[in-house]
C-alpha cells in the first residue's frame, strides 16, 4: 500500500496578544503568548486506511485536521499529500488539492448553509471542481449522491432546517464525496447525533470506504466509534501524539498512561463488565503555559524524574505501535 498522506513536524501556534501597561515602564506594548494547539505532530496514512485521531476537547485534533485541508495555515511542518507538500501551497492552488481531499464537519446544523437547498449544496462541488457542467447531468449526479448516502430525490429541494439531524449529516457526507475524493477527513461525524442515527452513519461510512476505496482520517472523542470504523489510531494529548498503532493492539494493550486512563473511563454499555478505572488527577493544563518535559507530568500516576526534565519522543516499541513515554519506551 502506498502512503497517501504524510504529516511531518506539523505545528500550529496561535498568538494571543496580551496588552498591558508594561510599556509605561519601557517594556513592549504587548506580550505575545503562544497557544501551542498543535505541537510537532507526525503521522502517515496509507491508501485505503482509516486512521482515527482521538483525544479530549482542546487537544488539537480538529486544528490538526483543518491544517491538513488548509482551512488553517500551519505554523510549521510538512503535509505531503500524494507526493506534494501542500503545507505552503499558495491559496490559489488549494482548489486542485481539495478536489481529492474533503472534509465532513462535526456540526451538521452549522456546516450547511441554511439558505441553500440540498440540490444547490451538492451541486456546488460538482460545478466548482469542473466535474459536471450540464444542468441535467448535475441533477442526475445529485440524485445519485443522495441515494448513495441513503436519501432520495425528494430531499433535493429541501432546506437544511427541514431535515433531521441524521439527514443533515448525510447531506454533509454526500457533499464531501461529490467530487469523488480519495481522502476524507471526518470530524466527529456522529457526535451530535442520536445513537440509532449515528449507527446508520457509521455503517454507511464503513460501507462507503469499502465500495469507493477511500482513505479516512477520522476525529473522535468517542473511542468506541474509532474502534468501529478505523484500523489505526493516534491518541493526542495537548497538541501532541502520545501513542499510535493498530486499533486492536492499542485498545487491548495501551502503553501510554493517558491512553490507559482514557480507555478505562469509557463507560461500556454492559452492566457486567466493570473496568478498573485509572484516574488522572487534576485538570488538563492550559496549552499556553506548558510544563517542561512530559505534558502529562502533573496528572500521571507513574511520574518520575525524567518526566520533568525531558520531553518524551514518539518511539516505536512494537511492530507499528509507537508511544511517547519515558517509562514505556525505555523498557
Amino acid at each position: 500500500m502506498s502512503t497517501i498522506l504524510e504529516v511531518k513536524g506539523l505545528k500550529k501556534y496561535f498568538i494571543q496578544k496580551k496588552t498591558g501597561f508594561s510599556w509605561l515602564k519601557g517594556g513592549k506594548p504587548y506580550q505575545a503568548l503562544y497557544l501551542r494547539a498543535v505541537d510537532n505532530v507526525n503521522f502517515d496514512i496509507k491508501k485505503g486506511e482509516a486512521l482515527g485521531l482521538v483525544g479530549e476537547s482542546g487537544c488539537g485534533k480538529t486544528t490538526t485536521a483543518k491544517c491538513i485541508i488548509r482551512l488553517i495555515d500551519p505554523t510549521d511542518g510538512q503535509i505531503i499529500f500524494k507526493g506534494e507538500d501542500i503545507a505552503s501551497l499558495p491559496k490559489k492552488e488549494l482548489k486542485r488539492i481539495r478536489k481529492h481531499m474533503q472534509y465532513v464537519f462535526q456540526d451538521p446544523v452549522g456546516s450547511l448553509n441554511p439558505r441553500m437547498n440540498v440540490k444547490n449544496l451538492l451541486a456546488e462541488p460538482l460545478r466548482n471542481f469542473g466535474i459536471l457542467k450540464d444542468k441535467n447531468e448535475v441533477e442526475e449526479r445529485v440524485i445519485n449522491l443522495l441515494e448513495t448516502v441513503g436519501l432520495s430525490e425528494e430531499h433535493m429541494n429541501k432546506l437544511p432546517r427541514e431535515l433531521s439531524g441524521g439527514m443533515k449529516q448525510r447531506v454533509g457526507i454526500a457533499r464531501a464525496i461529490a467530487a469523488n475524493p480519495e481522502f476524507l477527513i471526518l470530524d466527529e461525524p456522529t457526535a451530535s447525533l442520536d445513537v440509532s442515527v449515528g449507527a446508520k452513519i457509521l455503517n454507511e461510512l464503513v460501507d462507503l470506504q469499502k465500495r469507493l476505496n477511500m482513505t479516512y482520517l477520522m476525529i473522535a472523542h468517542d473511542l468506541s466509534v474509532i474502534r468501529y470504523v478505523c484500523n489505526r489510531v493516534a491518541v493526542m494529548y495537548l497538541g501532541q501524539i502520545v501513542e499510535t498503532g493498530d486499533v486492536e493492539e492499542i485498545f487491548s494493550d495501551p502503553l501510554h498512561p493517558y491512553t490507559e486512563a482514557l480507555l478505562s473511563a469509557v463507560p461500556i454499555p454492559d452492566p457486567w463488565v466493570k473496568i478498573k478505572r485509572i484516574d488522572l488527577k487534576g485538570e488538563t493544563p492550559s496549552p499556553i503555559n506548558l510544563p517542561r518535559g512530559c505534558r502529562l507530568q502533573n496528572r500521571c500516576p507513574y511520574v518520575f524524574s525524567a518526566c520533568t526534565s525531558d520531553e518524551p519522543e514518539l518511539v516505536e516499541v512494537k511492530n507499528g505501535h509507537s508511544v511517547a513515554c519515558h517509562l514505556k519506551s525505555k523498557s
Binding site: E56, G165, L202, E283
Partner: protein, 324 residues
C-alpha cells in the same frame, strides 16, 4: 411495595400547545423510584426525558402544561401541592442538576453566595454559618481550595468543575432525590467518569436516590440500578439494569442496544430504521409501529399497548407480550 417507594409517578401527561397543534410530549408515563437507588431514564432526543424530569419539579413553562397524572413523593401528591409548599420541597428534598451547569449558575454572583443562600432559605442559617456550610459542601464534592473558590464567579470554572459546583449546590440540603438531566453530556470521558463517581458516592454516603436522565447507554449501564427506556413520550420498558441489557424485550430497547459500538470488543451494530414519530400527530396505537420489525397487523395500529409485568419488576409495553 408502595411503602417502599420514594417517588411514584402514575399516568403523567404533559402537552405543549404550539402553532402546529398540540404536542403530546408525555403520554401517561408511570414509574417508581425506590430509596437509595439510581434510576435511569434513557432514550433518544425527542423522547421526552427532559420534559419528564422538569414535570416532576413543576418547571414546565408555557406553552407546556402538565395535563394529568399523579406524582407521589413521600406520600404527598406534588402536583396538588400549593406553590409555596412546593418551593419548600424543591432544593431541600428534591433537587436537580442540569446539563450546562455554567449557564445554570448565576453569572453575576459568587458561587459561595449562591450555595449559601440555599442553606439560608431551607435551613434558616445565618450568613456566616451558611457560608461555612457552603465551603464544607464544596469540599465534600472535592473542589480544591474551597475556601478560596467560594469567592469565584461561575465563568472562572472549567466545565467539569462547574458541574461539581452545581452538584455541591443541589446536594447542599442532602435531598432525598436528585434529578440529573444529562449531567455529563459535553464533558470529556475522564471528567464524565469523575462526575458519575461523585454522584454514586453521594448516593452511598447520604442515601440520595438519583434519577439519571441520559442518552448514553454506556453511562446508564455503568451507573444505574434500574432503567426505564423512553420512546416518543412513552416508557416502553422498565427493568433492573442487568435484566434490561441481558434480556431486552421491547423491540425498541433491543434495537437501541444493538446500535451502540463498544470500546472493549468489536461488535456489529445496526441502526433503527425510520424516525421518531412526530409528537404532534402520533400514531394512534403503538408509537413504535413505523419502525418496528415485528408489527402485528390489526393489533399494533389499533390500540396503545398496556404496560405489563413480565417478570418481577420487569415491565414492558408491547402487544407482542400481551396475554403471556
Amino acid at each position: 411495595m408502595s411503602e417502599n417507594l420514594l417517588l411514584n409517578v402514575t399516568k403523567l401527561s404533559t402537552n405543549f400547545y404550539l402553532y402546529e397543534g398540540v404536542m403530546r410530549v408525555l403520554d401517561e408515563i408511570s414509574f417508581q423510584i425506590r430509596p437509595r437507588e439510581v434510576f435511569g431514564l434513557v432514550g433518544e432526543s425527542g423522547s421526552g426525558k427532559t420534559v419528564a424530569s422538569l414535570s416532576i419539579l413543576r418547571l414546565i413553562l408555557p406553552p407546556g402544561r402538565i395535563i394529568s397524572g399523579e406524582i407521589f413523593f413521600e406520600g404527598t401528591d406534588l402536583l396538588k401541592l400549593p406553590q409555596k409548599e412546593f418551593s419548600k420541597i424543591r432544593g431541600k428534598k428534591i433537587s436537580m442538576i442540569f446539563q450546562q451547569s455554567r449557564t445554570a449558575l448565576n453569572p453575576f454572583m459568587k458561587i459561595g453566595e449562591q450555595i449559601a443562600r440555599i442553606y439560608r432559605t431551607h435551613e434558616g442559617l445565618s450568613k456566616s454559618e451558611a457560608m461555612e456550610k457552603a465551603i464544607e459542601s464544596l469540599k465534600r464534592f472535592r473542589i480544591p481550595e474551597a475556601e478560596k473558590r467560594v469567592e469565584s464567579y461561575p465563568h472562572e470554572f472549567s466545565l467539569g468543575m462547574a458541574q461539581r459546583v452545581m452538584i455541591a449546590m443541589m446536594m447542599a440540603c442532602n435531598p432525598k432525590l436528585l434529578i440529573a438531566d444529562e449531567p455529563t453530556t459535553g464533558l470529556d470521558v475522564t471528567t464524565q467518569a469523575q462526575i458519575l463517581d461523585l454522584m454514586k458516592e453521594a448516593r452511598d454516603k447520604i442515601g440520595t436516590s438519583i434519577l439519571l436522565i441520559t442518552h448514553d447507554l454506556g453511562v446508564a449501564a455503568q451507573t444505574c440500578d434500574r432503567l426505564a427506556v423512553m420512546h416518543a413520550g412513552h416508557i416502553v420498558e422498565i427493568a433492573d439494569v442487568e435484566v434490561l441489557y441481558g434480556r431486552p424485550l421491547h423491540p425498541y430497547a433491543k434495537a437501541l442496544l444493538n446500535s451502540i459500538p463498544r470500546v472493549d470488543k468489536k461488535v456489529r451494530i445496526s441502526d433503527i430504521p425510520g424516525f421518531v414519530p412526530s409528537l404532534l400527530n402520533p400514531p394512534k396505537g403503538c408509537r413504535f409501529i413505523n419502525r418496528c420489525p415485528k408489527v402485528i397487523l390489526g393489533v399494533c395500529e389499533k390500540a396503545k399497548p398496556e404496560m405489563i409485568e413480565i417478570d418481577r419488576g420487569h415491565f414492558v409495553m408491547c402487544h407482542l407480550y400481551e396475554g403471556k
